[in-house]
């Protein structure tokens, strides 16, 4: 990496005659250094050796000495003369550029999701809608094959299934729960881009019990062994054969499987008639080129209606490329991104850059009085106005070029080191190229945005007045500058208030009442086949410990993990098309106690009762959607699920079994003792002791490792994306404030310098230091107050709009507006008063003598 770069650098700048043997010698040195020192040190020493060749003796001799054009020379000179203010501008612009580029890289990566599939633009996900409204990604397994026969425009199709029970995958004795386990048709690899390292794409997923791994999963399980043909155990009960290995995808997709088993395996390892009876599959179709999606949807809808007879159902063809940013249905395969947030971040990036450009405009127009003499001389010597405009613009160009370079460096450094925490992708070679072209664009933008206005105003001075020293400076353009400062601070305040309310919302979501109590609840996966049979012994062993309050179990899932979806329930006498689609979980008798779920009517399952199998619990929403006025009415009534009549034993509260992004949907709880996860509520006073005691009981019953997870940690993971967004917003808005403050420092520095004499005279006449500071700081504080007044309604309206999208919105608190306002006042006051204090403390003798 380093030596490639150095070689390129040297061959670019060194004398062509000498390049060959210099690089040759350096490669020998590199080998020697690598042999003698650790890698980083060797690289560093090598770089030092190589860089020492950048001396005049070796440099390429130009045909003619390079003399920069006049404009460049004067630009550099002027930037150097006003080094302090140029430095402020440079830092501000660099931060602006870095933030902007960072955001652009992130946006690019969010938008590139699923673009790399072979027919990305023709691939659609088939979504079943009811009454024109889609709720879930799931459809029946029969949908895609039926469509293929009836609709000619389908090129290929595939179906996916991701089990809500995350399987325990074992090789020999070591294994773990694998959350990224998918089942797919053998056509999966026709639709989605995966590169095979071993095995053949066409046949890898044909036979039952075959599974394809990604390279990283294969490495985890098999190390350096060849995985193909080896066996894996699925939940300690079934054996799968590895038929292929695919490379870890280099591009992002809305599905991120590590294991893909053949769909024909599914009936063997789960419910035998799952393919025929359950609507739990995600279907994709590749349409022939030039197919109108609208026509396809109509044909598909006609087909579905002719089969089922229900004319509210329709099929929606969701473009696969739009899933990541635009799809927010239940049972998404993985957590998706959010187009609104992408827009928000783009606006943020633009604002930061605008604030940085305004700094430049303000500082350079404020400087005009200093430069009036220079301008006067240039004009009287015959400079045209256009020439002056070019001169000032090239100053801006030089400065922004420098800050672009710094900004690019910062982005590359930050995203390659802290990229993961911030959600920024690492910069690849292709990314670097893109970054380069964006940088050129930003350069043009900054040069024009920052340079044009000052260039026009500065070049307008009449030479006679400018040379005479008539003051055209301090007061000149003061109003425009004030407006710009107000604009900057308005933007900052809106950002701060926005960030505050986003954080508010996220905190609210995490701390609101979930309808059950996730604290001090452990979930323990119990997928070992042998252990399942000894579940009663395990429960008794644990309950004997005083620290354990309750032990429940689920044969499927717990809150925060995906639930089985797409089950249709009807009341006796109802047509299937009027049924309620609900999500489902299978639990034992003490699950409700272990999670402390509120039962608002009826009761839970009874321990050891034979009637449990014919009884179910539903939640409040399900009761309402099935048409009961109150939960009490539903108790004892019967419903029909998959042709079987069941009695409603009780109604639970609407506890949040999904994240709070979604409103609670209808839920059905069935009885099953065939457990996959134990749910244990423990006392909080001696957690370590209780865990140790539980492990002792565990090891007597099984050799699977004891890996309990606290349920609240699990739930916390649901909000990881939110937290990352929150962090990005905080960083972006703090950067905006920082840049705006840099501008204020510049203006304050300049103002106090211009008014030194005035301050001296005031002091001679008896003004105190305090009065002067208040006077000087006051001018800036007034601007900030104006900004607060403007920002308040904007933040209020946008905040209200943003929250409308949440199923559970936090109440708007006054703090959202007060804290950022005070913060802005405080920071602005602090930065400005630092300079004003220094100016005000100067002895009047020094001020007046100049």
């Amino acid at each position: 990496m380093m030596h490639r770069f150095m070689e390129r650098l040297l061959s670019r700048v060194c004398d062509p005659a000498a390049v060959e043997h210099i690089i040759g010698d350096l490669s020998e040195i590199r080998l020697e250094l690598n042999a003698r020192f650790a890698k980083p040190l060797a690289t560093l020493l090598f770089a030092l050796e190589a860089l020492r060749f950048l001396r005049p003796a070796f440099l390429r001799r130009p045909a003619a000495a390079f003399i920069p054009p006049r404009t460049v020379r004067t630009a550099i000179r002027s930037l150097r003369t006003h080094a302090g203010l140029s430095g402020l501008n440079l830092v501000g612009l660099s931060i602006g550029v870095a933030a902007c580029l960072g955001i652009m890289t992130w946006v690019q990566s969010e938008r590139s999701v699923d673009q790399h599939h072979p027919h990305a633009n023709q691939t659609v996900r088939l979504i079943m809608e009811s009454g024109g409204h889609a709720t879930s990604t799931l459809s029946s397994a029969a949908l895609a094959p039926a469509l293929e026969d009836a609709v000619p425009s389908i090129q290929s199709w595939t179906r996916l299934f991701k089990h809500w029970e995350r399987p325990y995958i074992q090789r020999g004795t070591s294994g773990r729960i694998e959350p990224a386990f998918y089942f797919a048709d053998s056509t999966f690899f026709d639709v989605f881009a995966y590169e095979f390292v071993a095995g053949t794409p066409r046949t890898a997923l044909k036979a039952p019990h075959s599974v394809v791994l990604t390279e990283s999963a294969a490495h985890r399980l098999f190390g350096t062994d060849d995985p193909v043909g080896q066996h894996l155990s699925y939940n300690s009960e079934h054996e799968l054969t590895v038929t292929g290995v695919v490379r870890d995808p280099a591009f992002r997709s809305h599905l991120r499987p590590e294991f893909i088993a053949s769909l024909s395996t599914l009936p063997k390892v789960s419910y035998a008639r799952i393919l025929e009876e359950w609507s739990v599959f995600v279907s994709y179709a590749v349409l022939a080129p030039g197919t109108d999606p609208g026509v396809f949807e109509r044909q598909a809808t006609d087909l579905v209606r002719s089969g089922g007879g229900d004319d509210r159902v329709s099929v929606h063809a969701q473009p696969v490329t739009s899933i990541h940013l635009h799809s927010r249905l239940t049972n998404e395969l993985e957590a998706n991104g959010d187009a609104r947030f992408v827009w928000l971040m783009m606006v943020l990036g633009g604002m930061i850059l605008a604030i940085a450009c305004i700094n430049y405009v303000n500082i350079s127009t404020a400087q005009s009085s200093r430069r009036q003499r220079e301008i006067g001389v240039r004009k009287s010597l015959g400079a045209l106005r256009s020439q002056l405009i070019i001169q000032f613009t090239s100053e801006a160009a030089a400065l922004s070029l420098l800050s672009i370079v710094l900004g690019v460096l910062a982005v590359v450094l930050v995203s390659n080191t802290y990229g993961y925490e911030l959600g920024l992708p690492a910069v690849s070679a292709a990314g670097m190229q893109r970054l380069g072209s964006w940088a050129v664009g930003l350069w043009a933008l900054c040069t024009l945005g920052a340079g044009l206005y000052p260039a026009f105003t500065l070049s307008r001075f009449a030479p006679s007045r400018a040379l005479k020293g008539v003051d055209v400076g301090v007061g000149h353009g003061q109003r425009a500058r004030n407006i710009l400062v107000v604009l900057q601070f308005t933007a900052c305040l809106v950002l701060l208030m926005g960030t505050w309310s986003v954080r508010n919302q996220l905190n609210y979501v995490r701390h609101s009442n979930l309808g059950f109590s996730p604290e001090a609840v452990l979930t323990v996966p119990v997928q070992d086949g042998g252990l399942r049979a000894r579940m009663a012994a395990l429960k008794d062993g644990w309950m004997a410990n005083a620290g354990v309050v309750a032990v429940g179990a689920s044969s499927s899932t717990v809150p925060g993990q995906p639930h089985s979806g797409g089950h249709v329930v009807i009341r006796p006498g109802q047509a299937p098309s009027d049924g309620v689609r609900l999500q489902r979980n299978w639990i034992d008798a003490s699950y409700i106690d272990a999670l402390a779920i509120d039962l608002i009517a009826g009761r839970s399952f009874d321990e050891g009762s034979a009637t449990n199998a014919s009884r179910v619990l539903i939640n409040e929403t399900a009761a309402r959607q099935l048409g009961w006025e109150s939960p009490e009415e539903a108790v004892g009534a019967s419903i029909i699920l998959d042709g079987e009549s069941l009695e409603i034993a009780g109604v639970s509260s609407d506890y949040h079994f999904e994240s709070l992004h979604n409103a609670v949907g209808p839920l059905l709880l069935s009885f099953n003792t065939f457990s996959t996860q134990a749910v244990v509520r423990i006392q909080t006073d001696d957690v370590d002791g209780t865990l140790a005691a539980m492990e002792t009981v565990w090891t007597q019953l099984t050799d699977q490792s004891f890996s309990p997870v606290f349920l609240d940690d699990n739930l916390d993971a649901l909000y990881q994306a939110d937290r990352r967004w929150g962090r990005m917003m905080v960083i972006a808005s703090l950067l905006a404030v920082l840049v705006a403050c840099l501008g204020l420092i510049g203006l304050a520095l300049f103002m106090t310098e211009m008014r030194t004499r005035e301050l001296g005279i005031r002091k001679v006449h008896g003004a105190t230091t305090g009065q002067l500071v208040v006077m000087l700081t006051g001018t800036f504080i007034k601007l900030v107050v104006a900004a607060i007044v403007i920002a308040l309604p904007i933040a209020w309206v946008t905040g209200a709009q943003w929250k409308a999208d949440f199923a559970y919105a936090a109440p708007t608190s006054a703090l959202t507006f007060i804290v950022p306002s005070l913060l802005a006042l405080f920071v602005a006051g602090l930065t400005v008063s630092f300079h004003t204090l220094r100016a005000a403390r100067k002895s009047p003798v020094d001020c007046l003598r100049s």
Partner: protein
């Protein structure tokens, strides 16, 4: 430097000269310093150079092999004689 070039005889190029100087004097010079000196000496006509001896570890790039010119050797001998003469002039009492 010139001495080091002579010592390396048929294989005098940047890296070999550097390692020769290191093993004889214990001083590690930077490669660029050596190249610069060699180039200067060549400009003065003391050294001459030819391309050759590409190896795999150099990524197939040729070396620039230096050898002293007749003028360079004469200069070198002059210096040695000059120095020897000066040594001989030191009174024995000083050295003992």
């Amino acid at each position: 430097m010139l001495l080091a070039v002579c010592i390396c005889h048929t294989n005098a190029y940047g890296v070999s000269i550097r390692s020769e100087i290191r093993s004889q004097t214990g001083r590690t010079l930077s490669l660029s310093a050596i190249h610069a000196t060699l180039q200067r000496l060549e400009d003065k006509g003391i050294l001459t150079s030819a391309a050759g001896g590409a190896t795999a570890e150099r990524g197939g790039r040729r070396k620039r092999l230096f050898s002293p010119t007749a003028y360079g050797l004469a200069q070198l001998k002059d210096r040695r004689d000059e120095r020897a003469a000066l040594w001989n002039l030191i009174p024995d009492a000083v050295l003992s």
